[in-house]
């Protein structure tokens, strides 16, 4: 059995020493005076805490051992409660190697192993020598061959052949057209640093719209607050956008995808370099995503869902292509799953559009009602009617929602498309279906509509896996649900025999 990199021992010992020592200082400062122990006596606790912490850190290092056997990855860990974990190699879904900036300097890397079970990463080697990480990865990938599967090799290219490399212009499009909520949060976090500068600018910009003279929350009238929001929110969005673009460049810089046997292997990252394997035989679904700007420019991204990845990093999906010209995305999707992601899509019946219009109108009405009640209670809110302007957008929005929804039933796949702002086209292979559901809410039944849920085992927790075919004609939905069931039975039957 092997241990992690010796430096881990040092880092862990130092980390725990600082933590436990800090805890002792907290005890000394807060609890002990109340018990009548003098400060001088209490201070002795700090070095004691630090030593105990360091010893514990060292123990966690010594107790953590791993080994790749013929058919399992064994990991022994734990100081107080010990754990011995065996991961069967043929159940390994993904293996990722990560090197942050300082890890690159030290020549070490972290390795993560994912299986289909559980919500979190099954085994983490944090961290080992970079060469050792690569050796373990290669070993795991070589052994983790599931039984030959119909879904596996669909392109004839040999091992190591490059499938895709991100061009600089694609990286720029990816960085500038994306919007990352995480970056927005980071911007909010950074606001206090540039506080004064920002206040003055915000007030000056909001003044022509009837903004306040001074930024005092309690004395703001709703009108002034609205003016401030009209200036402040777009500025915030712009800040988040720029920061997000920088983060995106750092994430995806130098992205390449190549084929290694039955795996796709990617490398990416500027400061933190990441590489990992996506086994083709484990692909659950493919998703082409393109937001409204990317559609206008003719770009799209492709991500691959496997059953690993419990809920971290973009909710269980890995980019196969962060961003590329649409043709390249379509070609790669065809190479992986032998399916045309463009082609004909069936739209929901036109009466579904009335449903969306009703839904949006209700939302706007609720917003206007809320603003009106604020005007009644607080006063000084002559602009309370502004949300009602959104009524003008209800019909176009309903139309766009309807227009971008669709589904297609191909020979070996079901394709689902939805979303105007970000349009997602999800490809579900027949043999990946788990359960098939037909659902109809009261509102859908009124208009003789129903949805069909094609569930898969993909790890995409955020959007929940699988695909929902919204608002089909009720009859069509019944037929399709039956069709999907028989497709699953047929594909699993043939795969089971091979």
């Amino acid at each position: 059995m092997k241990r992690l990199h010796p430096l881990v021992a040092l880092f862990r010992a130092l980390g725990y020493a600082v933590n436990v020592g800090g805890l002792m200082i907290l005890l000394v400062g807060v609890l002990l005076p109340a018990l009548g122990v003098s400060a001088a006596e209490a201070l002795v606790l700090f070095p004691v805490g630090a030593v105990v912490g360091a010893a514990f850190g060292l123990l966690t290092y010594l107790r953590f051992r791993y080994e790749v056997t013929d058919d399992t990855l064994d990991v022994h860990s734990g100081v107080v409660s010990r754990r011995q974990r065996e991961i069967p190699l043929d159940r390994v879904q993904n293996v990722d190697v990560e090197q942050s900036a300082w890890q690159q300097l030290l020549g070490v890397a972290s390795l993560r192993v994912e299986t289909a079970g559980g919500g979190s990463t099954e085994a983490t080697l944090d961290f080992v020598d970079a060469e050792e990480a690569e050796r373990v990865r290669a070993l795991l990938r070589a052994e983790a061959r599931p039984e030959p599967d119909a879904a596996a090799p669909k392109t004839g290219s040999g091992p190591g052949s490059a499938l895709f490399a991100l061009t600089p212009s694609e990286l720029v499009v990816y960085a500038l057209t994306g919007f990352r909520p995480g970056a927005l949060a980071l911007t909010l976090f950074g606001l206090p640093i540039v506080d004064r500068l920002l206040r003055n600018w915000l007030l000056a910009a909001a003044a022509p719209l009837g903004g306040p003279e001074r930024l005092v929350l309690r004395s703001l009238t709703p009108d002034q607050a609205l003016a401030l929001a009209a200036v402040g929110l777009p500025s915030l969005a712009a800040g988040g956008w720029l920061l997000g673009a920088a983060l995106a460049v750092n994430d995806q810089y130098g992205f390449t995808l190549r084929r290694e046997g039955d795996d796709l292997h990617y490398d990416r990252g500027l400061l933190t370099s990441l590489s990992g394997s996506i086994p083709l035989a484990r692909v659950q679904t493919l998703t082409v995503r393109e937001n409204v700007f990317q559609r206008a420019l003719g770009y799209a991204g492709l991500s691959i869902d496997t059953a690993g990845y419990g809920g971290q990093e973009s909710g269980g999906q890995r980019s196969a292509i962060p961003m590329a010209r649409r043709e390249r995305v379509v070609a790669l999707a065809a190479a992986i799953e032998d399916v045309d992601v463009d082609g004909e899509f069936e739209r929901p019946p036109a009466r579904a559009r009335r449903r969306y219009a009703a839904r949006y109108a209700l939302a706007v009405a609720a917003l206007a009602a809320a603003a009106f009640s604020v005007a009644r209670v607080v006063g000084d809110f002559s602009l309370w009617w502004t949300p009602a302007v959104l009524f003008a957008g209800v019909l176009p929005a309903a139309h766009l929602t309807w227009r971008h929804r669709g589904y297609a039933v191909r020979e070996d796949h079901v394709l689902v498309r939805a979303g105007f702002w970000t349009r997602r086209t999800t490809v579900v292979p027949n043999e990946r279906l788990q359960t098939v559901q037909r659902r109809a809410t009261v509102f859908q039944r009124r208009r003789d509509l129903a949805s069909v849920v094609a569930d898969t085992a993909s790890g995409a927790v955020l959007r929940r896996g699988g695909a929902v075919l919204y608002d089909l004609d009720a009859e069509t939905a019944t037929g399709l649900a039956d069709d999907l069931r028989s497709r699953l039975a047929a594909s699993v039957g043939s795969a089971g025999e091979s």
Binding site: Q284, Q434, T435, V442, G459, G466, A481, L488
Partner: protein, 153 residues
Amino acid sequence: MDALDPRVRVVWAVRALLGAVVLGGALLVLDRFAVSVPLWAVGAAVGLVAVLGLAHVVLRYRRWRYELQADALYLERGVVTEVETAVPFVRIQHVDTQRGPLERLAGVSSVVLYTAGSRGADVTVPGLAPTRAEDLRERLRELAAESEAGDGV
């Protein structure tokens, strides 16, 4: 298509009434510590929730159907949202029978099927007579084993 055991209605009804009682309690606490809520309003809210809950129980029981088909367990259920689910035997990872305290009192049992799917990964058939629940579990287990294909992922 099989219906559920009628006794499951007792379990559901008790749960619905408990919900109404909890709501009443919350309203009384609100009345005591925050805004005043007239007693008749509390009574009306509890009554309304109880009546709606009981009506829901009746409709829910009427709507619930299940059937063992050639390749899948097929379920029909739902009052506000009607849901029809097919769980193919190949996709069943494991099967449980469960009995909560209320279910034990009412003399019913539930069968829970687990799949590797990410949406509704566990499907419950509630309200079966205990012997029937065990039969169904055994039957599903056999069917799942017979149709074994790979790891069901």
